[in-house]
């Protein structure tokens, strides 16, 4: 048993090890993100694919049904009035009463309902604190209220900007999505979607809690430092393939092989290898060797 003489190093190692594991566990890495239930309930109107096992995985040779990903949500005019009330209460102080922007916040006219939906449904808007980059929070508004606000902003410049896409991933192609993700997204969001720091205090957020609708809205609107991908860069079908890959593979990775150590690669692995591996073996040395 652990006797007094090496109880202290043992306790130290155990503490450091446990904190190391906690620090690199996925839950800690996403502590500031919204809870999955909130985001999931806030975004409806599309079919969730289940993880990889049942998602239709067609090979590139078999032609996927074309034309998916082109439909958009049409917001009824009856949403505009309640949307205006919500906008006046929560947004107008910075964006101005008619969403034309002030010295404190940009003009929203012409950005489209999809852009508004992205910022509000991820909880980034209303801002909690003015910083370099807005952070994900539990959304302030429910799904209906979000759509009402989007309808109001849309009504200021009808027919312009990005509409809210109708997302149906059932026909999407995971393999195409995977290679498009690696080519277009991994350079900032990392190949595991864990996100990472960028220059100048900005960061690429984790993708692990984003809904497919939000992913497509982000691709099309380019929030913050993210580039905006037009339909010339990525067709509607390709955007849906990426969303399907993020949802089916990035968010539900095949995580065999034990604890995932946060998906941040060799930094976490090195800590575990040195503290747990070498540390444990050194304790064994200490145990079976002479200590004076």
């Amino acid at each position: 048993m652990i006797r007094g003489r090496y109880a202290i190093p043992a306790a130290l190692l155990a503490t450091v090890g446990i904190f190391g594991l906690m620090a690199f566990s996925p839950s800690a890495a996403q502590a500031d993100s919204t809870t999955p239930t909130t985001v999931a309930s806030a975004a409806g109107g599309y079919a969730y694919p289940t993880p990889t096992s049942t998602t239709p995985t067609t090979s590139p040779t078999s032609s996927a049904p074309s034309g998916y990903g082109t439909a958009d949500i049409t917001l009824p005019d009856s949403f505009i009035a309640p949307g205006q009330a919500l906008f006046d209460a929560s947004c107008a102080s910075c964006h101005g009463a008619d969403a034309a922007g002030t010295s404190r916040a940009p003009n929203l006219q012409g950005l489209g309902a999809g852009t508004v939906d992205f910022w509000v449904s991820t909880g980034r808007m209303p801002l909690a604190i003015s910083s370099i980059q807005a952070t994900v929070k539990p959304p302030r508004f429910d799904r209906l209220q979000t759509l009402q606000i989007a309808a109001f902003v849309q009504s200021k410049a009808p027919g312009t900007g990005m509409p809210i896409p109708i997302v149906n991933l059932s026909a999407a192609n995971l393999e195409v999505g995977g290679s498009l993700f690696t080519l277009n997204c991994a350079a900032c969001h990392t190949i595991t979607g864990a996100g990472d720091a960028l220059a100048g205090g900005a960061f690429a957020p984790s993708l692990h809690l984003a809904t497919p609708t939000q992913i497509i809205e982000a691709i099309r609107s380019g929030p913050g430092d993210m580039p905006r991908f037009s339909e010339g860069n990525l067709t509607p079908t390709e955007a849906h393939d990426i969303a399907a890959y993020v949802h089916g593979v990035i968010q539900h990775p095949e995580d065999r092989g034990g604890f995932g150590l946060g998906g941040i690669g060799p930094v976490g692995e090195g800590f575990v290898g040195l503290l747990v591996g070498v540390g444990l073996l050194m304790l064994v040395c200490f145990w079976i060797g002479e200590r004076t």
């Binding site: 720091a197 930094v267 079976i288």
Partner: protein
């Protein structure tokens, strides 16, 4: 029966004499002498798991269509190297366990070499007559790092491919010879003709391990020839060795330790995921992921590259990329040359040309201990610099601030560490009775409430009776019974 067979062999090969020396080899019992064994047994685990992996891994960049157990990859064109590595993780029974054990074992192998090297350094075990063995050890460290990098590159996944790309750029940064070296190794301009995978494979499983095995034999042979060092203590002199003989005591202990090392490696392999290459995808030279780091033992090189300002020399039609050359070629070159030359640097500095079989306590050599602490701190800081992005993201501070923190801290903090360590050593040496067992005190409280302290009476076991040094014959079976100094402990003359 056994006796006569052994006699038959001995009559022809004369192995009894050498076997006697081996079985009677004395191992000091201090725990810090077992750190090198972690490396030795990790190497055994590496060889065993490596043989398993080589049965299934295909060292080829040839493109095939993937049809394996990992669904998102179905029907994609991947290299055979990548497909077989993913196959090891999904389709081969216990393949993933073996892959992860191999990788964890590599991390532990190099970690234990570092710890072992620190023990040898801080106790002065590298001094005359053991400079050779120090050089052999440093060479094995270098080869271990190289082989770790080669093995990390073999799966041909996105992350390791990025590492090969960096290695190529480092080669290219060497003035004059760089581009030729790169072309020579890769068989053309990067990424070559897919020839790098089989070449790395050959180096990884044959050439470098064979070199390590040879050096390992030299390392252990010198250890037997020169005998172990030992810590100072009553009965321990420059001219004897006190400890357990190879047979039976140490053999039992060390065999058990082999099993424990294997067990810890496989526990990690079973419970902690390492390098999930199927999540990274196939390497394509035009693709990149963010948050790419090498394994920890390469991290210090990566860190030096990251914090280097982008300096460049352009002139006479040539570009010398100092931002790569200095941190990735010159810096590790200096570090390893200091490692190799340290025994001679120190001997020159101290004019100490005597034989040393007794070890120093680190505090008794403040400058050496300070230098060692400085080097460890430098390595730790540069290693930290290899995760600037992870740190910035985790602590939610700007990446540039983290970068500038390391640019200042990497040169500064090791120097502070040196002076603080030297000071601590000097204070420890000057303190009265430090390191000695202190007699316990008994606190009395009188009826009127007054406290008083008196030293407690010595209890059995408080006073240590050290054994006197007695010269004994060199072979165990000649040791008189009255010289047995404790369970399994022997002392022999050098």
């Amino acid at each position: 029966m056994i006796d006569s067979s052994l006699r038959w062999v001995d009559d022809r090969l004369g192995i009894a004499k050498g076997g006697r020396t081996f079985l009677d080899k004395i191992f000091p019992d201090h725990w810090s002498f077992m750190l090198g064994e972690i490396a030795l047994y990790s190497f055994v685990v590496l060889l065993g798991t490596g043989v398993f992996l080589s049965l299934y891994y295909i060292p080829s960049a040839h493109e095939i269509v993937y049809h394996g157990g990992y669904l998102p990859l179905q029907g994609q064109k991947v290299s055979e190297a990548y497909a077989s590595s993913v196959g090891l993780s999904f389709d081969v029974k216990s393949g993933l366990l073996m892959r992860q054990a191999h990788h964890w074992s590599a991390d532990i192998f190099l970690g234990s070499i570092a710890v072992h090297m620190a023990r040898v350094f801080f106790t002065g075990a590298f001094r005359k007559p053991r400079e050779f063995n120090w050089i052999v050890g440093v060479t094995m460290l270098l080869l271990g790092i190289v082989n770790g990098f080669l093995g990390y590159s073999l799966p041909d996944d996105l992350v390791s491919g990025t590492g090969i790309r960096i290695a190529y750029s480092i080669l290219e940064s060497i003035p004059l010879a760089g581009s030729y070296l790169g072309t020579f190794l890769f068989g053309g301009n990067y990424p070559g003709n897919g020839i790098i995978i089989p070449r790395f494979y050959l180096l990884h499983i044959l050439i470098v391990p064979a070199l390590i095995v040879g050096l390992l034999a030299a390392h252990l042979g010198l250890l037997v020839k020169q005998k172990h060092t030992q810590f100072k203590g009553r009965g321990k002199t420059e001219h004897n060795v006190v400890g357990s003989p190879m047979f039976p005591t140490f053999m039992a202990k060390t065999t058990g330790f082999l099993f424990v090392t294997t067990a810890v490696t496989f526990i990690l392999a079973g419970f902690a995921q390492i390098n999930p290459i199927w999540q990274f995808g196939q390497y394509e030279p035009f693709q990149i992921s963010y948050a790419v780091q090498p394994d920890w033992y390469m991290g210090w090189l990566d860190g030096a590259l990251r914090i280097m300002p982008s300096w460049e020399f352009v002139g006479w039609g040539h570009t010398i990329p100092l931002e790569v050359l200095l941190p990735a070629v010159i810096f590790p070159g200096i570090i390893f040359n200091v490692f190799f030359a340290w025994p001679f640097i120190e001997a020159r500095h101290t004019n100490d040309l005597a034989y040393h079989n007794l070890l120093d306590r680190p505090r008794d050599r403040p400058k050496r201990t300070g230098a060692g602490a400085m080097m460890l701190m430098l390595m730790f800081m540069v290693f930290g610099a290899s995760s600037t992005d992870v740190l910035a993201n985790f602590f939610q501070v700007p990446l540039n601030s983290v970068l500038w923190f390391f640019r200042i801290a990497v040169p500064l903090i090791p120097v502070i560490t040196y002076f603080v360590t030297v000071k601590i050593c000097e204070e420890m040496r000057g303190a009265e009775g430090i390191g000695k067992r202190k007699p316990p005190n008994v606190v009395h409280r009188s009826a009127s409430g007054e406290f008083s302290t008196v030293p407690a009476e010595a209890r059995p076991g408080d006073g240590h009776e050290e054994l006197e040094a007695v010269p004994v014959p060199a072979f165990i079976d000649m040791v008189p019974a009255d010289l047995a100094t404790g369970p399994g402990i022997r002392r022999v003359m050098r």
